[in-house]
């Protein structure tokens, strides 16, 4: 498989090194039905899926841009805009809801001064509501990176965010 475009794709202000995605493309380009897997790998690599990258993937694997856009916009996991360094997944499952996840969301919003999907001023955080993290016994819960935080209160939520911010600085 060859590509006549360079390894670097100029995307807005930053270059994205598409060669990082090359092993994935080589592995999956000819395996039909691999679009979602490729997009997941690409998001892991670059943190999000810029439009130019999507066009590049579309060309490389021979899937029409309209279909790529359709898939990216269908699944909540995919982001076409960059996220903060720490992605907070706030559980809005039933158990969390009845145990006050709305208050936790308020705490995050107030603490970070952001709305869902936005990046905090320091670039450290983005939060997204998710349907259910599946740790209902810890409700209300949130996940930051691979770590799950349970039995949250407004206070403990702010403490978690502050301690991460402190570590980062």
């Amino acid at each position: 498989m060859s590509c006549d475009c360079g390894n670097n794709l100029k995307i807005s202000d930053s270059d994205i090194d598409v060669s990082l995605l090359e092993p994935t493309l080589v592995k999956y380009a000819d395996v039909s039905g691999s679009l979602i897997t490729i997009l997941q790998k690409a998001q892991d690599l670059y943190g999000y899926l810029p439009a130019d990258l999507l066009m590049y993937i579309s060309r490389r694997i021979g899937v029409k841009p309209a279909k790529v856009m359709g898939v990216v916009s269908f699944y909540t996991q995919f982001r076409t805009k960059p996220a903060g360094k720490n992605l907070i997944l706030l559980c809005q499952g039933t158990a969390c809801h009845v145990n006050g996840s709305a208050d936790i969301e308020d705490a995050i919003r107030e603490c970070l001064k952001i709305e869902e999907g936005e990046i905090s001023d320091d670039g450290l955080f983005t939060y997204n509501n998710v349907a259910c993290l599946g740790c209902c016994s810890l409700a209300p819960a949130m996940m930051i990176g691979d770590k799950t935080y349970g039995n949250l209160t407004k206070k403990s939520t702010v403490e978690v965010l502050e301690s991460i911010a402190k570590e980062e600085s």
């Binding site: 039909s32 039905g33 897997t37 279909k67 699944y75 998710v130 349907a131 599946g134 209902c136």
Partner: protein, 607 residues
């Protein structure tokens, strides 16, 4: 001696990681031969972190809610069998009984074996069932055994597992039997005929119901049970390829599953010519990308094929034309986890448990306003009361039980007066709720049922794929009506409008997501109509959950004029002189509740 630490997602979140490290370091420092291992979730999530110590004499001591301070005591016990120091952390007899009295089939190894060590599984008769199938049974006999067991799909609908397997086994490029032809859709797909006999086993681990985590616990705690179940299904239908479609939100489950698959391959339980036969089978993982609708089997297939997860019309059923147009059998994690037990113990043994209509056990994720939240596995035929007040230990904080919600956004609630309803597919369906995949959310007097309906509609509305009219626009309109009711703008006639729309959405929607989406509204309307009327006609939320309907007032007799509330109020809504009763200005009050939290004299009334 051996120490095991419960490290499911729940345990980790409760701090099990730190405890694990402290124990490992401590044991190393002691210099005793006592490996510290990881186990999955035993289900008693409310007791996490949980540490088990298996002593030399074979006795097990269980320590719960273990804090870093407790580790020293546990280590002391390990070193000297003296338990006084950690006694305070030992599990209570009542809690122990709750765990031990459950009848565990799907969860038989969870919390007991190290999920990352296949030897643990093998030691507990792991992979004996598939070996038995391959060596001593024909695929037809396996299906017959499944038929005897009466196992129904644990994903929610309870459709007989053997029937699906049989359909997939029988599936040929030829059309379905005549009797079903009235519902067949045209077959315009031109699937490749190259691999004519290709069939797929798909494990649906896209556990999406908010308030349910049975599948996560099984994969994290006992991945091989599911793998072995898939192997048996593959043998029965004649498939050589399996796929686990697992939620991306379950990173730990994916890691453990990957390890388990690798170990199974190494041990020769996956791969070619298994057990010296011509049966070959392997499994790969596909991570979901965040779409609840992909739990619907045709949408799941679309997603596996790299498409938008939009459901397709049935028939053709996946057993006829599924993944890449090939016969495909889809079961969920819990269903597969039951299979090895059934093969080992016989279908009849399984069928001996449960009721006339529902055989075996069912795993529930018991959450919400419950004292002992976690995973429980109970035989079919127990009552909801048994679960809530038995294993569940009753309602948290001594409040009154109001309802349980079963089946998440596709299910409904069962009110307190029906608490003696038996756990059985048919009995539950008669209440308007469903068995569902196992989410059991307990609600107390402080739960507003209109708000619950709104919550579920908000969920289905966000998760609707957008394909068919009734689901795409209908759920949105239902949500809007519920939002205005909760927001204090409910109109007379809204109840009728909601029920009419609910009926039409059930009639007109393409897939189960839409067809069941109105259930949370219909059941709350059925059992809690008065709450709707309170919201709409009297503009009151008796559960005090719907903020726009609440009024905060200061009870002058109780207020001492301490000014704490004045300082707590960010909106300047409270005024008054020091040491004199204060007042809340209703126009400025945003009903945030900060004053109530600040008041030490219980002087603020919310009605």
């Amino acid at each position: 001696m051996k120490i095991s630490v419960g490290r499911g997602s729940c345990g980790n979140a409760a701090g099990a990681g730190e405890i694990f490290e402290l124990l490992e370091n401590g044991v190393a420092a002691l210099g005793v031969d006592c490996p510290v291992s990881v186990v999955g979730c035993i289900g008693a999530c409310y007791l996490e972190p949980i540490v088990n110590v298996l002593s030399r004499n074979g006795e097990t001591r269980t320590f719960v809610k273990v804090t870093p301070d407790a580790v020293a005591g546990i280590l002391q016990y390990v070193a000297s069998s003296q338990q006084s120091a950690a006694a305070a952390f030992e599990i209570s007899p009542k809690d122990l009984e709750n765990i031990e009295t459950q009848q565990r089939i799907a969860l038989r190894n969870c919390g007991i074996i190290d999920p990352e060590n296949i030897d643990d599984y093998v030691a507990r008769e792991g992979y004996a069932a598939i070996e038995k199938c391959v060596k001593t049974m024909t695929p037809e006999q396996v299906i017959e055994e499944m038929k005897l067991s009466g196992l129904g799909g644990r994903g929610g609908a309870g459709f007989p597992t053997w029937f699906k397997w049989n359909a997939a086994r029988q599936a040929e490029p030829a059309p379905f039997p005549r009797s079903d032809s009235c519902e067949q859709t045209s077959a315009r797909h031109d699937g490749s005929h190259k691999a004519l006999n290709k069939k797929y086993i798909i494990c649906n681990a896209d556990e999406g119901d908010p308030g349910a985590f049975m599948d996560r616990a099984v994969i994290e705690g006992d991945p091989h049970a599911m793998i072995e179940g898939m192997l048996i299904a593959a043998y029965a239908i004649g498939s050589d390829e399996g796929i686990v479609y697992v939620r991306a939100e379950y990173p730990l489950a994916i890691v453990r599953l990957e390890k388990a698959l690798e170990q199974a391959r190494t041990m020769g339980f996956l791969g070619n010519n298994l057990f010296g036969s011509d049966f070959s089978f392997d499994i790969r993982i596909k991570a979901g990308a965040g779409a609840f609708v992909c739990g619907e089997e045709t949408a799941l297939i679309a997603s596996l094929e790299g498409e938008r997860g939009m459901p397709r019309l049935k028939p053709p059923f996946p057993a006829q034309k599924g993944y890449w147009q090939k016969p495909s059998n889809i079961n969920n994690v819990e269903t597969f986890a039951n299979v090895p037990w059934i093969i080992r113990n016989g279908g009849e043994a399984f069928a001996a448990i449960g009721t006339e209509n529902s055989k075996g056990t069912k795993v529930f994720a018991l959450t919400g306003k419950i004292a002992n939240g976690g995973l429980v596995e109970v035989p079919m035929g127990q009552t909801i009361r048994d679960v809530v007040y038995g294993v569940g230990g009753g309602i948290k904080d001594g409040k009154n039980f109001k309802a349980v919600q079963l089946g998440g956004p596709s299910g409904g609630c069962i009110p307190a007066e029906l608490i003696d309803t038996v756990i059985d597919y048919k009995a539950l369906a008669e209440t308007g709720a469903i068995m569902g995949s196992g989410g059991m959310v307990v609600m107390d007097e402080s739960t507003c049922m209109v708000d619950m309906a709104r919550f579920f509609l908000d969920f289905t509305c966000k998760e609707s794929c957008g394909k068919c009219t009734h689901c795409r626009i209908g759920t949105r309109r239902m949500l809007e009506i519920l939002e205005r009711i909760c927001g204090g703008d409910g109109r007379e006639g809204d109840i009728e409008l909601l029920s009419d729309l609910a009926e039409q959405i059930k009639e007109g929607s393409l897939c189960a997501l839409g067809q069941t989406a109105p259930n949370p509204v219909l059941t709350t309307l059925r059992y809690f109509r008065n709450e709707y009327e309170d919201h709409i006609l009297r503009k009151k939320c008796t559960a005090r959950q719907c903020k726009p309907l609440l009024t905060y007032t200061i009870i002058p007799e109780k207020c001492v004029g301490c000014t704490l509330c004045v300082r707590a109020c960010a909106f300047g809504a409270i005024s008054g002189e020091v040491r004199k009763p204060h007042m809340i200005e209703q126009e400025k009050c945003t009903k945030c509740g900060a004053c109530v939290a600040a008041c030490k004299f219980d002087a603020i009334e919310v009605v």
